[in-house]
């Protein structure tokens, strides 16, 4: 009924979207894993990264500079938010922390509008990634494949970093047992700032990858954040590999569903999430 070509192209589209959601969720889950803060403003930071990519590209004409610039700028943005604001609420109920990050989201969204205007921004696909391969009637662009590859590389990099480097070891220590880490000479506060920097930098990467693929406007983050949370929770909080698999699974399922049931795609997604959580409350890969 559905021919192979359509299935394949839809699969790649699904992997592409899943990879974007993974990159968005990766930073979120990293920050949450170590600091136990759910940063509602995370998607807003990602979109700010898109805007920064646009500005740097327009003034320098270089993608590489724009990418790097967005990553560093968002990292700094996250770190500054942590130092100025988040730090003051570590002792509070997690919901107050969430409320604070919600306030930050409002501010960041409006700042995007004020700085870059109300109109949309866009960066054309980098030269060497333009064009694509025809799969049936659909042209699968090289750029979408590129994003999938980057997503996978990010997974490898994060995994390596967290599990095989000294810094990663320290982060895991702070994550598992902040008190003990302090006894052992690690200052959790510095690590919290570091992880906010890292997580937000990853968001910046996501933003830089997003803008050649999707036209960006102010407040776009609000349309992305809920799905990011769902990915993080479905996967099991703080689980990196789990988040990757879950994000890709959601992306692919959603894409394939539009082929089969065009009317119901997002509804089914929510229903499936609900079902999964009812059956396996700790998420697909979480630990109890």
């Amino acid at each position: 009924m559905i021919d192979l070509d359509t299935f394949l192209s839809q699969l790649v589209v699904g992997l592409f979207r899943g990879s974007l959601y993974w990159i968005l969720a990766a930073g979120l889950t990293l920050i949450f894993g170590v600091t136990r803060i759910l940063n509602f403003a995370h998607a807003a930071i990602l979109v700010t990264g898109s805007y920064i990519t646009y500005t740097i590209y327009v003034s320098t004409g270089s993608y590489v500079l724009a990418f790097l610039g967005a990553i560093i700028a968002c990292g700094l943005l996250g770190a500054v938010t942590e130092v100025l604001l988040i730090r003051r609420v570590y002792g509070l109920d997690p919901l107050y922390q969430l409320l604070l990050t919600f306030g930050v989201t409002l501010v960041v969204n409006e700042a995007q509008k004020l700085v870059w205007g109300k109109g949309s921004v866009y960066v054309p696909t980098p030269e060497m990634l333009r064009g694509g391969v025809a799969v049936g009637a659909v042209t699968v662009s090289y750029y979408t494949v590129f994003v999938v590859i980057v997503g996978f590389l990010l997974l490898l990099a994060l995994h390596y970093f967290i599990n095989m480097t000294m810094m990663g070891l320290r982060l895991r220590a702070v994550w598992r047992d902040p008190v003990m880490s302090e006894v052992l000479g690690l200052n959790p506060k510095n690590y919290y700032t570091l992880v906010f920097f890292l997580g937000s930098a990853i968001a910046g990467l996501g933003g830089a990858l997003l803008i050649p693929a999707i036209t960006v406007g102010p407040g776009l983050g609000d349309h992305l954040i809920v799905l990011a949370f769902i990915v993080v929770v479905l996967a099991g909080l703080g689980n990196i590999v789990g988040s990757y698999i879950t994000a890709l699974a959601i992306g692919v399922t959603w894409s394939l569903l539009t082929l089969v049931t065009p009317e119901l795609d997002i509804v089914i997604l929510y229903l499936i999430s609900a079902l999964i959580l009812m059956v396996r409350p700790q998420g697909l890969f979480g630990e109890r």
Partner: protein, 313 residues
């Protein structure tokens, strides 16, 4: 509390229609937030889907008054009574889970209901909604702003008294135990699941009442009241006002209504203004207004006592 009733009763006498409207809106949000707090503040379960019940009440009232029996009072009663259905069903499916999993589950249900409201266009009018919800009915005629203000006020008084009574009753204590020491409850012979379900149902029905009153106030209902962003409103009100105290959600509703109205005057940047206000509130009050007020009140009392004691000796 009586003071609140008196103040509210006096508002329509000012004759200022906008403030009558704000007062009506405040009461509706307050009922919503207070009901929500039964689940949130007492049982410590965070729901992101309570817009579902609010919307249920609103649409039930709308559909009843538009198609079945053209009277607002009947519409509201239908809204409240039928709300037992989704409250029990959704509650049954969700309360065995906790914390963030519960939150995402309720979010999912709320969004599914939103999709249903959007897609069942023949019934709900889709995104344009249902229009023409009457205020002039067979039994009651509450078409003047003052009249429907008092209509809402009546329900407000009844529901707040009920909720207050519940909070002070043994059921209320047990629900609060869910928030604090739920491990102990089975030992005392109580089922955590059943208690949570009771709390959920109370909050669901209360939210539906708020939604029913809202439908009549607006005259129009649209699906966005089931969207998760609207579901977050009672949560924000409880947080801002303080969820530990009974009055907290009320204070929170008041603050939010006031702040959003003020911020909207800056039509270009009102979200920025609101965001800064929210950040300011969280940083300054660290636990909601009522908590802050209570702390300062206690502090003040201590200081007075200390000074009184010092001057005596």
């Amino acid at each position: 509390m009586i003071l609140v009733y008196v103040v509210l009763a006096l508002i329509p006498l000012t004759g200022q229609r906008f403030y009558i409207y704000l007062g009506s809106l405040f009461m509706i949000y307050a009922i919503f937030a207070l009901s929500y707090n039964v689940l949130f503040g007492y049982a410590r379960l965070v729901s992101f889907g309570h817009g579902l019940f609010f919307a249920w009440g609103a649409y039930a009232t709308a559909l009843t008054t538009l198609n079945l029996y053209r009277d607002p009072l009947v519409g509201v009663l239908v809204g409240i009574v039928t709300a037992l259905i989704p409250s029990l069903v959704v509650g049954f499916l969700t309360v065995r889970h906790t914390r963030i999993y519960f939150a995402i589950l309720t979010l999912a249900f709320g969004m599914v209901f939103y999709s249903a409201l959007v897609k069942l266009r023949w019934l709900t009018g889709g995104t344009d909604g249902l229009v023409g919800i009457p205020k002039r009915g067979v039994i009651l005629d509450i078409s003047s702003p003052q009249a429907y203000y008092y209509f809402i006020l009546a329900f407000f008084i009844v529901s707040t008294l009920l909720l207050y009574a519940i909070s002070r009753s043994s059921i209320g204590l047990l629900i609060r135990a869910l928030g604090g020491n739920e491990e102990r409850l089975p030992f005392l012979g109580y089922s955590v699941f059943q208690l949570r379900l009771v709390a959920f149902t109370i909050s669901g029905v209360g939210s539906a009442l708020a939604g029913s009153l809202y439908a009549i106030l607006m005259g129009v209902v649209t699906p966005d009241i089931s969207y998760w962003t609207f579901s977050a409103e009672p949560l924000i009100m409880c947080l801002v006002g303080g969820f530990e105290h009974f009055m907290g959600p009320l204070v929170g509703a008041f603050v939010i209504v006031v702040l959003t109205t003020i911020a909207a005057r800056f039509y270009e940047v009102w979200m920025l203004v609101l965001g800064l206000m929210v950040i300011g509130i969280v940083l300054a009050f660290r636990g909601g207004f009522t908590g802050f007020l209570e702390t300062t009140w206690n502090l003040a009392r201590h200081m007075v006592v200390a000074r009184g004691g010092a001057s005596k000796s």
